[in-house]
């Protein structure tokens, strides 16, 4: 029996671009499309071969990591998850280095704010030592890209290229047949101190592997969604509600209300005399009264009364009364007319 696949997700970042929501919770637990970002990330992997045997490795930050452990214990009690802690923010490679004891054999890794739509069943018959997932983009200059030779093998990863001729943007998802090879390259990277602004980037470790002769091919992804900023989170919410997360047909707790699909409303949320949608996600136990909401994510336990909200992120247990406009409010905020 082959070794189980390790699915490794670094999630130590502070998520500062998602403030104020991330003042109180790690980025993976921010609400998105009826669940959390983490739920959507874990959903991506259901197509990996032999998923039930896969072992997850979550790399947590020095603070708020216990929130993730609690969430996983509650929502994914059957998953095999091992945890490592990255005490200082010294980059992606450092995250894997901190988890090195847990990394053996085949490994798939993705970042916690990258959501891709991809069928991973190809891994069952993969012959390359490594696969990098890419998406062709019109202008690659603000991305990392993969340079590929005539035979289709990756020769080098290039950060923010100056020219346009390599347009295969790195989406932040890699497969390595031998995790040990990555760890050994990271060891060399740290020894040679190949870092930028005190951070060790994974692309530099991969380039060391390529210098050593790693056979890496590219795999194109269909969809690539970002959950790293407020705008991106709302855009990803829209996409996911358009692609299967809508539950407007479910038995919801609605009274004198109009739903404009797609929406995802938690069954425990109470909605009365309101117009909800399109593109609204309402969390557990939220109470919406006399309000119109569109293009918004409303956190657990929020109370929205007599408001008109659009393009808004409202944290858990926030209270809004008599407000209209676009809001980005953290947990426990309140605004009262």
């Amino acid at each position: 029996m082959p070794q189980p696949l390790k699915i490794v997700i670094p999630m130590a970042g502070y998520g500062s671009r998602l403030r104020p929501l991330t003042w109180s919770k790690p980025k993976p637990l921010v609400s998105l499309a009826g669940g959390t970002v983490l739920d959507q990330v874990l959903d991506m992997f259901h197509s990996v071969p032999d998923f039930d045997r896969a072992e997850f490795v979550f790399i947590l930050g020095p603070t708020m990591g216990e929130q993730i452990q609690d969430y996983v214990a509650q929502h994914y009690p059957d998953f095999h998850v091992d945890y490592a802690v990255q005490p200082e923010m010294k980059g992606q490679s450092d995250a894997f280095w901190q988890a090195r004891e847990l990394l053996h054999g085949p490994m798939l890794m993705a970042f916690s704010d990258t959501l891709i739509g991809n069928d991973f069943s190809f891994l069952a018959e993969e012959t390359a030592e490594s696969v990098v997932l890419v998406k062709p983009v019109p202008d690659p200059r603000r991305f990392g890209v993969a340079e590929v030779n005539k035979e289709g093998w990756v020769t080098r990863l290039v950060e923010k290229p100056n020219d346009m001729h390599n347009n295969l943007a790195l989406v932040g998802c890699y497969y390595f047949r031998e995790a040990e090879d990555l760890i050994s390259a990271i060891e060399e990277q740290i020894e040679r101190n190949i870092s930028l602004k005190d951070e060790y980037y994974l692309a530099d470790a991969v380039n060391i592997m390529l210098e050593r002769g790693l056979k890496m091919r590219t795999e194109n992804v269909e969809t690539w969604l970002d959950a790293g900023t407020s705008e991106a989170l709302l855009e990803t919410n829209r996409y996911m509600l358009d692609h299967g997360k809508d539950n407007s047909d479910a038995d919801l707790n609605l009274e004198d209300s109009v739903i404009i699909p797609p929406v995802v409303i938690h069954p425990t949320a109470r909605v009365s005399t309101s117009v909800i949608g399109p593109y609204v996600s309402v969390g557990e136990g939220a109470v919406i009264q006399g309000s119109t909401l569109k293009d918004s994510i409303i956190g657990q336990g929020a109370h929205i009364t007599n408001c008109m909200l659009e393009t808004s992120l409202v944290g858990h247990n926030a209270t809004l009364t008599g407000q209209s406009g676009q809001f980005n409010l953290g947990d426990n905020s309140w605004a009262v007319k």
Binding site: R19, P20, W23, S24, T63, S230, G315, T321, G322, Q323, S324, G325, Q326, F327, N328, L329, G330, D331, N332, S333, W334, A335, V336, K337
Partner: protein, 337 residues
């Protein structure tokens, strides 16, 4: 007092009741009347005998360490301050215990949300073993109170008494002639596991000392200000602005603006086309344009435009545009009409 005094300020609490402001900063650093809660606590200590040679011990946890140390080094660079870490957060007594290597000789303890008006100069000639500061309150049932015998010595501390016969509420300020005394009682308290809901309260350690015959007297204060909840913070802000000497002429960049005193406006704040006051506190680099503000505290770097705010707490680096009402918003919140 022959030895120089030690002043212990436990500040490890979560400040849950001051969320969302305390999601991103420790309670002592919440803005209040032109400064922070901590600055007002420290200002009350000006009258402590030989305060210049006092050694301060700020009991903190790792999560707030950077922010507290940064504040102290910026505003109190000449003070002698130790920062023992109390990560277990097992309550008040534990904060003493974790700091024990710094505690010897005369010890004054002030909790970080206790703002009182008091002249501490009597400590130079104090003959009692210990002093506890109290304020007579109409209804003592939600406080800790002192029971005093006919000679004025305290016999017992009672938490949340059922009856009204003792109305001297404990405000959170204590003096011990010899720190070793209270440390020995805390040691006994920890050994005997005398805790309540997982926390070691200092009142129980003091009761151990009272049983051993400690001579402790009460010192009454007239003014005891609470900064523990949003309402209390705004009330304390009003009190301090009225009592203090805040000249609005420090405002260097105000254009077409009416100031209704009292207000505390940082010299770097920029205000135009607005009516500010009464009871408004604007921190560093706040920008206000086209607003009516009253009874409101605004954190540094925040931009307010075309809004009417009252009874509001706004965190740092927030952007509020086109809003009317009462708000309690943490750092980095954003609203647009």
């Amino acid at each position: 007092m022959d030895k120089s005094i030690k002043i212990l300020i436990p500040m490890g609490g979560y400040g849950t009741r001051l969320r969302p402001l305390t999601w991103s900063r420790p309670k002592p650093l919440v803005c209040l009347a032109g400064q922070t809660v901590l600055d007002y606590v420290l200002a009350t200590l000006d009258t402590v005998p030989q305060v210049d040679s006092a050694e301060f011990i700020f009991s903190i946890n790792a999560q707030i360490e950077d922010q507290i140390v940064h504040h102290v080094s910026r505003f109190y660079p000449d003070w002698q301050v130790q920062f023992p870490i109390d990560d277990a957060m097992r309550g008040q007594s534990d904060a003493f215990w974790q700091a024990k290597e710094h505690l010897e000789g005369p010890l004054l303890v002030v909790f970080s949300d206790t703002i009182i008006e008091n002249d501490f100069s009597f400590l130079a000639d104090e003959t009692a073993d210990a002093v506890i500061w109290v304020k007579p309150v109409p209804d003592p049932r939600r406080f800790g109170v002192t029971v005093v015998d006919e000679n004025g010595w305290i016999t017992e501390l009672i938490e949340k008494p059922d009856d009204m016969s003792n109305n001297l509420a404990v405000v959170g300020c204590y003096y011990f002639k010899d720190a070793a005394t209270i440390l020995s009682a805390i040691e006994e308290q920890i050994e005997r596991e005398l805790y309540l809901k997982g926390e070691f309260f200092i009142a129980q350690a003091i009761n151990i000392l009272l049983k051993r015959g400690l001579k402790m007297r009460v010192e009454k204060v007239e003014t005891w200000l609470d900064a523990g909840t949003p309402e209390a913070l705004l009330e304390t802000n009003r009190f301090l602005l009225e009592a203090g000497d805040f000249s609005s002429d420090k405002l260097t960049s105000s254009e077409n603006t009416v100031i209704i005193p009292p207000v505390a406006i940082h010299p770097t704040a920029q205000v135009r086309d607005s009516v500010i006051g009464p009871n408004v506190s604007l921190d560093e680099n706040v920008t206000v344009e086209g607003c009516l503000l009253r009874d409101t505290i605004v954190g540094s770097g925040t931009t307010l435009s075309q809004s009417r705010l009252e009874h509001s707490l706004i965190g740092h680096n927030a952007t509020i545009t086109g809003q009317i009402g009462r708000f309690n918003l943490g750092d980095n919140c954003q609203t647009e009409p």
